[in-house]
């Protein structure tokens, strides 16, 4: 248990006479943990030379076809299945009949080739995705402590809003960075508008590393999402457009930054993303 960093431990015991969330600093020695200083942020400082090594990325989607050449293997494939009244997460073959998750995984692999990829299938499974499978899969991914969770999906069902909001807050405090697709239609959907997740929509430029900060959120960033060459079932490729494809670009950029600066907190990562964005970074500061 002590091997776990503070942000991954269960809530600590209370001290007599001390408020539950207070810190008895005169009684308890301060634990030393690694911190990252943010230097002058340029794109080169942020991710120059990084390849995603050491970072675990979870793709919550329709599954991932591990044999696709653009995916190049994955480390783990899980499925969410119903067990009586519960939804449980179980190992499964790394396949993807629909191809949506494989397409997302191929974008991540292109930008951050050395990340460890895990697939959790929360969509498909004989019918369209259910909110309860999504909640169970996301909860599992947060418990497992993935560094980055890619969610190229959203639910428009209001009844899942509260539970999703709690989960994304939990992820934020455990340093699991959730990167989620903003909706490109005028509908209310979740979790992308939550402040605890990094939300992504599309720009129409061709460069996979170019992204913009949106000074008028809830959409926070625009990443490449138009005519993107992605994996398609059966080892093939296809050109696709949509926020679903912009999201893995941003997730992969997060993975690059974290692989170079592993002790960044989610709020620091957001600052780095902000400072290195195309429309924010000093022109001479770019890589």
């Amino acid at each position: 248990m002590t091997d776990l960093p503070p942000w991954r431990r269960p809530p600590r015991d209370h001290f007599p006479g001390v408020p539950a969330w207070g810190m008895p600093s005169t009684m308890v020695p301060q634990e030393r943990v690694a911190f990252s200083q943010i230097g002058p942020v340029t794109r080169d400082w942020a991710w120059g030379g990084a390849d995603g090594s050491g970072i675990r990325v979870c793709v919550l989607d329709s599954g991932v076809d591990a044999t696709h050449p653009l995916v190049g293997g994955i480390d783990q494939a899980m499925d969410v299945v119903r067990d009586d009244d519960d939804m449980v997460v179980v190992p499964v073959d790394p396949v993807d009949e629909a191809g949506h998750g494989t397409a997302c995984a191929s974008v991540i692999r292109l930008i951050a080739p050395r990340v460890s990829l895990t697939s959790v299938r929360v969509l498909g499974n004989g019918k369209h995705g259910t909110g309860s499978a999504l909640l169970a899969g996301l909860s599992w991914a947060i418990d497992e402590g993935f560094d980055v969770i890619n969610m190229s999906l959203s639910t428009a069902k209001e009844q899942f809003r509260g539970a999703l909001s709690e989960l994304t807050d939990r992820a934020y405090f455990r340093r699991c960075v959730i990167v989620a697709s903003a909706h490109n239609m005028p509908v209310r959907s979740y979790p992308w508008p939550f402040a605890s997740v990094i939300s992504v929509a599309s720009h129409d430029g061709p460069d996979p590393m170019t992204y913009y900060y949106n000074p008028a959120p809830p959409v926070e960033f625009y990443a490449r999402g138009v005519r993107v060459r992605v994996a398609w079932p059966g080892g093939r490729e296809i050109l696709s457009t949509g926020n679903s494809l912009a999201t893995p670009h941003m997730a992969a950029i997060c993975a690059l930054i974290l692989s170079k600066h592993p002790t960044l907190t989610p709020f620091q990562l957001r600052s780095v993303l902000y400072l290195a964005a195309e429309n924010v970074a000093e022109p001479q500061g770019g890589s």
Partner: protein, 218 residues
């Protein structure tokens, strides 16, 4: 018993008007609305303008396949290009629709409660310079209106089905009767006459049966 779904005709005409409009706006080869079967996840063509409009309505796409399947799963609108460069996809599409598109654009249709009930799809838009992102955004706007009409149609069918059940109809035969009622107006004169005759025979048979053994359980 409602043999012809007359009260649904307005909604069907509205749906047809929407796909005609979508086809015209994008200068597309075809535009269609799918209804999602909530039990199986299959997608059924409800309205088609352009390629396949004569015979596609009523046919089914299996759950989770194709771009429409992606759209239902992730709840997002999507666009794919160079589809026909993909032999397997082309064959699947040809077998199910009889038409090979180069590009497909699709948006999910949401009911008020956030449930996805269908998909609006546009094949091969090509009348203007390419505007992938803008086109996808306008498709989203169009989808919002389409969803309202589709939701109305679904609600109406459900009401009629309840009404028919109360009339003592055999619930097991209702889906067939609905499909027949839906397709009858579009059938050729000869087929329509034959189907009407068959339905009259069925009604006579039921009337005889009811007279002989009392009404079946309601």
């Amino acid at each position: 018993m409602v043999l012809v779904n007359s009260s649904g005709l307005t909604q069907r005409r509205l749906l047809q008007a929407i796909v005609e409009m979508a086809r015209s706006v994008y200068g597309a080869a075809a535009a269609s609305v799918f209804l999602l079967n909530q039990e199986t996840g299959d997608l059924v063509f409800e309205a088609v303008a352009g390629e396949g409009e004569g015979w596609l309505p009523g046919t089914t796409f299996p759950a989770g396949t194709g771009i429409a399947g992606w759209t239902v799963m992730c709840g997002q609108s999507l666009l794919v290009d160079d589809v026909s460069a993909n032999p397997q996809f082309a064959r699947d599409a040809a077998e199910s629709t009889g038409y090979l598109p180069q590009s497909i654009m699709a948006a999910p249709l949401f009911r008020d409660d956030g449930e996805c009930i269908g998909v609006l799809e546009v094949l091969d838009r090509d009348s203007r310079p390419r505007r992938d992102q803008g086109d996808l955004e306008s498709l989203g706007l169009l989808a919002t209106g389409t969803a309202e009409v589709l939701a109305l149609l679904v609600r109406l069918r459900s009401l009629e089905s309840t009404h028919d059940d109360r009339d003592g109809a055999d619930a097991g035969g209702m889906p067939v009767l609905h499909r027949v009622a839906d397709r009858l107006p579009a059938a050729s004169e000869q087929v329509r006459a034959t189907v009407t005759r068959l339905l009259q025979m069925a009604e006579d048979l039921l009337a005889d049966d009811a007279a002989g053994s009392g009404r079946p359980d309601a």
